[in-house]
Symmetry: C3
Amino acid sequence: MISILDFTRDDLEKLFEETDNMRKRLDEGNVPKILSNSIIALAFFEPSTRTRMSFETAAKRLGANTISFTSEEAISVSKGESFADTIRMLDGYSDLIIVRHKYEGAALFAAEIAKAPVINAGDGKQHHPTQAMLDLYTIRYLKGTVDDLVIGVLGDLKYGRAAASFLLGLTHFRPRRIYLISPQELKLRPEIKELLMERGLNIKELNSLVDVLPELDILYVTRIQKERFPDLREYEKVKGSYRISSKLLFSLAKKDLKILHPLPRVDEISYDVDSTSFAAYFTQARLGVPLRMALLKLILLGGES
Amino acid sequence: MISILDFTRDDLEKLFEETDNMRKRLDEGNVPKILSNSIIALAFFEPSTRTRMSFETAAKRLGANTISFTSEEAISVSKGESFADTIRMLDGYSDLIIVRHKYEGAALFAAEIAKAPVINAGDGKQHHPTQAMLDLYTIRYLKGTVDDLVIGVLGDLKYGRAAASFLLGLTHFRPRRIYLISPQELKLRPEIKELLMERGLNIKELNSLVDVLPELDILYVTRIQKERFPDLREYEKVKGSYRISSKLLFSLAKKDLKILHPLPRVDEISYDVDSTSFAAYFTQARLGVPLRMALLKLILLGGES
Amino acid sequence: MISILDFTRDDLEKLFEETDNMRKRLDEGNVPKILSNSIIALAFFEPSTRTRMSFETAAKRLGANTISFTSEEAISVSKGESFADTIRMLDGYSDLIIVRHKYEGAALFAAEIAKAPVINAGDGKQHHPTQAMLDLYTIRYLKGTVDDLVIGVLGDLKYGRAAASFLLGLTHFRPRRIYLISPQELKLRPEIKELLMERGLNIKELNSLVDVLPELDILYVTRIQKERFPDLREYEKVKGSYRISSKLLFSLAKKDLKILHPLPRVDEISYDVDSTSFAAYFTQARLGVPLRMALLKLILLGGES
């Protein structure tokens, strides 16, 4: 489980059905402990409280146990021995390894070494497949389908792993149009853009949200990190254009626009949006648990229920 | 569950009975896994190994799972996003949230945001309700009752969260007399003192333990932190008066005096006291597990057994 | 469980049989949750990701729960209160305490304080009994026996806890000959060497592996830490002689030589050895789980199955 491109639309539909099932079980407080014989290793070489906790909750809801190292231990592990030796250790202890790493390819390398299945929980600048699955599932949950929608993706499209992975995931579906909204400095990398177009996505790049906001069914917001700008004045100039307020939404957006965000947010979405019907990001975060439960089940137990 | 004042005496009596029950189950090695469908989030924004481990043990004894972040992660979480967003994340994953925070009101704020119940595991300078419950239960366990006792509370009464919370808890009972024993600089805050008197406690403040030690049934000791004194010479002057030795106890105390301490201690109780019958602080720490088990059960499953 | 010398050969044989049993259960995916009523405290005052995870996996495979502090918390715990008070806290919460500490005697001291059983997961410079058990079990697993073998122990024999503990463990068996291979500066301490000889081991010390490599059935490699050398030039001189390559092995070693290493390794064994039949260190690491499962079972439940 390295990239969202490794999956077919059918794989995703199957996963989403299982997620529906898990969601129902959670609502009923009736989750069978089908993974009680499994140990899942959380190998987070790069810290990520949200993704880690989401996986950990999913595992524990299904009765699995987890082993993990803290970010501090991850650093000392990385210093003391090779990544390969660490993965081999975890492979000796656990039934599934979830890897997060700042370098592209780390999860793939782990998968080549380990006998146990490996899930990529984010590596490098493009791949975060379970986030993409969650994003797609959330849209299906909110809108009934991912097809035929007009979707805006806003923020740092150059370095943001979640946005790139979401866009790659969209190639499995047939959205009507995708708007890529970012400052010039943070445009999507050309190689990913080409890949998206090759795979049939109808893409348009622009700098400003305002013009297209009225058309959108879904707005996917990501953070713009100050540190990405070589010149702070550049950042100061653009930042206001990428901040979503309830005033803006009520004046321009469709009533049933839904806003997603991989979280954590800093100030790109005002807090006054939280209580509006536009805000879907907390629902999205919450759905991460049943989605990852479904994924763990499918990987560890296969398709049978 | 924010403040010990949110409870009635009846609530506490019910909790104490359930604690008796849990204690019996633990002794028999026969604890039913009644919380095996629950995930409990430990949101410790301020580190506390003891309180965290006590809650974690209680949860796990009952079959619940826990998710938590390390103190290092807590810092980065706090930097990256708002407290409210973090609580919302945990609310999406778990069935109960246990919050510890250095700022007063953090647990209340969390309770307003979350759909899941919130337990305050210590915030600000006054509230640490589960510690107060444990202190009161320990006294009842040792003496059969909290009423009619003469109780000394010694140490830092100004900044010490445990002492303040214990005193607030005592207002649910009818101790005969409370002695507040502290250096001038660390006297109980006037607003809390007034509250205690309004609620009918018979309080007397003094600087020295020696005069009242012979009267005491219970002596509650807390740490005096050097850092609290603007002038280190002031600290050096007083510290000797607030150090309990077995010699002092054998010469002045009642035979059945029991000493409590929320722990950790540094040097306010000599190690030679540990092996005397006065020492009840390790028993107190140990009782934290059945008390928190009872509390988790009552909150998550309600009153029925 | 403080030192490997506390055991008899019969104890070890019994442990190894139970380990065989656990290994079989793991292979079948059929591990009974016999410790589901147990809480195991991992008191790692010195960090050790491998040993901690191995114990944690073993505990969880058997259904036990664990509580632990992070290495950061361990430091603050150590600053704030005495080791004895920390052990007493853990003793109040858990059914078994696993201690790791840099000071010799810490585990023994913990065992004197706690009512719960204590396992030494490494303290000081000699004792790491569960590592020694694992090393001996691995040899038995690979060779059918520990007796009658020619065994080389290479690396830092002066400060290396694993090597010393392994050598002490060998005194329970009758290996044909033991070669101690190390630079002059890192020779085994005389008191341990004497103990080994008193207990009947046939020992020979030397500086170079090459001469004896053709004789060896087992080569136990440990790391030589640069920091041990007062003069870095000394280190540079010797380090090449203590690096094992597949070329060296194929030209000089017996075909069925097996190489052990307590791990983590840095560069003392080339990566090209990993894929040869000589490499047994990953098997050894993997066997740590069933061995520790067996140990936990025998300690917490006694001999009956």
